[in-house]
C-alpha cells in the first residue's frame, strides 16, 4: 500500500513524456559530486516546449547545482544535459545560444550602467539593437533607471535586470533561479505575470523556486528535488494526487495511531494537526472503525482527506524520503 501511494513512482514521467512536443531541455543521468558529497544524483528531467516548469526543493537539494550544470558553469561527474539538439558540456557554446537566464543572484558590473551591462553581455549573443535594450528594461520596469550604475541598484532591481538580460536575445529557453527573491509583493506579482506571459508566447521557462505557491500559480509542470534526486515530476495538476487518504479523529489519537499502524503500515499513518491521516482507501474505513472500537478507542470522525496543495505534497514527499533514509 505504501508503495502504491508513492508519487515519485507514479508521477515521474519518462523522458519522452513531451509526446508530440519538442523536448527543449533534458538531463540524462546527470550527476555531480563535490569530493564526497553527491550534489546531483542521476537526474533525469525533461522540459517540453512551452512548459513553464517549476523546479522545487529545499535548500541544499541541488537545484542551483543543476542549473550550473545546465549552463555549463560546472562539469558533470557523469551524465549530460541536452538543450534542443545540443549537448552540454560538449556543445555548450551552441546550446547557450538558445538559453537565457541566471543562477543565484544575477551579478553585473556595478561601475557600469544597466544599459551598458545589457549591451556588453547581450552582444555576446550577437548584435543587440538599442531598441531591444529599451524594450527589455521596460518589460522588467527598469526603463527609468537604465542609465543608473548597477552598483546603486537594490537586490530586487538586480533581479529584474537579470531577467532583462535573460530575455535580451529572445531565447527559446529561459532559466530563472529564484527570480522573485528580494522583490516586494508588487514586484513578485509583476515577475510572475511576466513568466506567465513568456509561457503564453511559447517561450519555455525553467523556474527554480522555493516558493511552492509560486510554482502552483505560474507553472504547468514541475519537479520536486531532494538531496540531489528528483522525488516527483509531472504536470502540476497531477502533483496534487487524488487523495487516497482519510482523516480520523478519535478520543485517543496516540492509541489510535498504534491500532491503525498495525492495520496499514506505521508509515501510512501521520498526524495532521488534530487528525490522523491514514493512507488507505475508503474500503478500509469499516475495518479501521471496527479495530478502533475493538480497542476501546472512541471514533469521533472519519472524513476523506482534502486534496493536497503542492506545499503539502512537497513536505510529504521530502519527509517520506527522509523516513526512507532513516529506515
Amino acid at each position: 500500500m505504501h508503495s502504491e501511494t508513492q508519487p515519485s513512482a507514479s508521477l515521474s514521467p519518462p523522458l519522452d513524456s513531451c509526446s508530440d512536443q519538442t523536448v527543449v531541455l533534458s538531463t540524462h543521468g546527470l550527476t555531480k559530486d563535490f569530493k564526497k558529497l553527491r550534489a546531483v544524483d542521476r537526474l533525469d528531467l525533461s522540459v517540453c516546449r512551452g512548459d513553464v516548469f517549476g523546479f522545487l526543493g529545499p535548500n541544499g537539494a541541488g537545484k542551483t547545482t543543476t542549473i550550473r550544470l545546465i549552463f555549463g558553469l560546472t562539469y558533470p561527474t557523469s551524465g549530460y544535459v541536452q538543450i534542443l539538439d545540443h549537448l552540454v558540456p560538449h556543445d555548450r557554446q551552441e546550446a547557450l545560444r538558445h538559453v537565457g537566464g541566471f543562477v543565484d543572484d544575477p551579478i553585473f558590473y556595478g561601475n557600469m550602467t544597466a544599459r551598458r551591462n545589457l549591451r556588453m553581455f547581450g552582444r555576446m549573443n550577437g548584435e543587440v539593437p538599442e531598441e531591444r535594450i529599451t524594450q527589455v528594461l521596460d518589460m522588467v520596469g527598469l526603463s527609468e533607471r537604465g542609465q543608473s550604475k548597477v552598483g546603486s541598484y537594490s537586490h530586487g532591481m538586480r533581479q529584474r535586470l537579470g531577467i532583462a538580460l535573460a530575455l535580451i536575445h529572445r531565447p527559446e529557453l529561459v532559466i530563472l533561479d529564484e527570480p522573485t527573491s528580494g522583490l516586494d509583493p508588487q514586484g513578485m506579482k509583476d515577475v510572475r505575470e511576466l513568466v506567465r506571459e513568456l509561457g503564453r508566447q511559447g517561450t519555455t521557462v525553467f523556474l527554480s523556486s522555493h516558493l511552492l505557491h509560486e510554482v502552483e500559480l505560474v507553472c504547468n509542470r514541475a519537479a520536486i528535488m531532494r538531496k540531489g534526486r528528483v522525488v516527483a515530476q509531472g504536470p502540476v495538476s497531477q502533483l496534487h494526487p487524488a487523495s487516497n487518504a482519510v482523516k480520523v479523529l478519535t478520543g485517543d489519537q496516540k492509541r489510535a495511531r498504534e491500532v491503525l499502524g498495525r492495520l496499514v503500515a506505521p508509515s501510512a499513518v501521520r498526524e495532521d494537526e488534530e487528525y490522523l491521516v491514514v493512507e488507505a482507501g475508503e474500503d478500509l474505513v469499516p475495518e479501521m472503525v471496527r479495530r478502533l472500537v475493538a480497542d476501546q478507542v472512541d471514533v469521533l470522525a472519519v472524513v476523506p482527506a482534502i486534496e493536497q496543495g503542492l506545499e503539502d505534497m512537497f513536505l510529504e514527499l521530502t519527509a517520506r524520503e527522509a523516513e526512507g533514509e532513516r529506515a
Binding site: R68, L73, Y75, I107, G110, N125
Partner: protein
C-alpha cells in the same frame, strides 16, 4: 563587440586602472626632481648605483632609461601581477565571471582576450612612463644625444628608438609575469591571493637569482633577464642575452598561459 574591446572597456571603467597609470606617470618626475634637489649627486656606480642615474643631469633622455631601471624589478611586476590576477580571480570574486560564462562564449577566447588586455594595460603604462620621462627629463635637462654604455654617442632620434626597444623588451618580460599571475588566477577565487602568489614567486626568483648557490637556476628564472634590455645601449647591440631573455620570457608566457587554459577550460565556476 569583441572580447578584447569588451575587456578593454571594463578596465577603462575601473578607477584602479588610472591609479597604476598615474603612478607610472609620476615616477619620472619624482626621479628628475630628486636628482635636481639631491645635494649628494647621483648614486655612485662604484657603490652599486645604476650607471644611468649618473647621466641624468647631462641629458633628460636618461630619465626614461633610469625610470625603467628603477621600476623593472618591483613596480612593473606588481602592476603586471595585479593585471594578470584580475583576469579570472578578480571576476570570480565579483561574481561576474559566471555572468560572462553563461553567455555563448568559448572559455579559451575569454581567457586569451583577458591575457591580451592585461598586457595592453602594461603596454599603455609603459607608454605613459616613457612619455612622462621624456616630458620630465626634457623640461629640466633637455633632450640631447645619448652616450651609450659602450661609450659611443648616438643622436636623439636613434636614442629614442633604443629607448623604445628597451621598453618593448620589458613589455615582453612583463608578459611572463602577467601569464604567471593569470595561472594563479585560475586556481583561486580571490584576486588578492592571486596577486600575492604571483608577487611572492617573483620575489623568490629575485632572491634565488641573487644567491650564488643557486646560480644553476639563474638562466631559467625570468627575473634574471629583466635587465637584459641594457644591451640595446651598446654598439654593436649585444644580441645574445637579449635573445636568451626573449626565449625565456616566451617559454614562461606560453607555459603559464597554457597551464591557465588547461585549468580554466574545466574549472567549475562556483562563485
Amino acid at each position: 563587440m569583441s572580447h578584447i574591446s569588451r575587456e578593454f572597456v571594463k578596465i577603462l571603467l575601473q578607477k584602479r586602472t588610472y591609479f597604476g597609470w598615474a603612478g607610472l606617470f609620476l615616477v619620472p618626475f619624482l626621479i628628475t626632481v630628486a636628482m635636481r634637489l639631491s645635494s649628494g649627486g647621483p648614486p655612485d656606480p662604484e657603490q652599486g648605483g645604476p650607471q644611468f642615474f649618473n647621466f641624468i643631469e647631462s641629458n633628460g633622455l636618461y630619465v626614461a632609461v633610469a625610470s625603467l631601471f628603477a621600476l623593472v624589478t618591483f613596480l612593473l611586476p606588481l602592476l603586471a601581477s595585479m593585471s594578470g590576477s584580475q583576469t579570472i580571480a578578480g571576476e570570480a570574486e565579483n561574481g561576474t565571471l559566471r555572468t560572462v560564462l553563461m553567455q555563448p562564449v568559448r572559455r579559451g577566447s575569454v581567457l586569451l582576450a583577458k591575457w591580451m588586455v592585461a598586457n595592453l594595460y602594461i603596454a599603455i603604462g609603459l607608454v605613459i612612463l616613457a612619455v612622462g620621462s621624456l616630458i620630465a627629463g626634457g623640461a629640466i635637462y633637455g633632450l640631447k644625444p645619448m652616450i651609450l654604455l659602450s661609450g659611443q654617442a648616438v643622436g636623439v632620434g636613434e636614442s629614442i628608438w633604443l629607448i623604445f626597444l628597451a621598453y618593448l623588451f620589458v613589455l615582453v618580460g612583463m608578459a611572463a609575469v602577467v601569464s604567471l599571475a593569470m595561472a594563479f588566477s585560475t586556481l583561486t577565487n580571490s584576486g588578492l591571493t592571486a596577486v600575492a602568489a604571483a608577487l611572492v614567486l617573483v620575489i623568490i626568483m629575485l632572491i634565488l637569482g641573487s644567491l650564488s648557490v643557486f646560480d644553476f637556476l639563474r638562466p631559467y628564472l625570468f627575473t634574471t633577464h629583466f635587465d637584459a634590455w641594457m644591451n640595446f645601449f651598446r654598439q654593436p647591440v649585444v644580441w645574445a642575452p637579449i635573445r636568451d631573455a626573449l626565449i625565456n620570457f616566451a617559454v614562461w608566457s606560453v607555459g603559464m598561459t597554457g597551464i591557465a587554459w588547461l585549468i580554466f577550460r574545466r574549472k567549475d565556476i562556483l562563485s
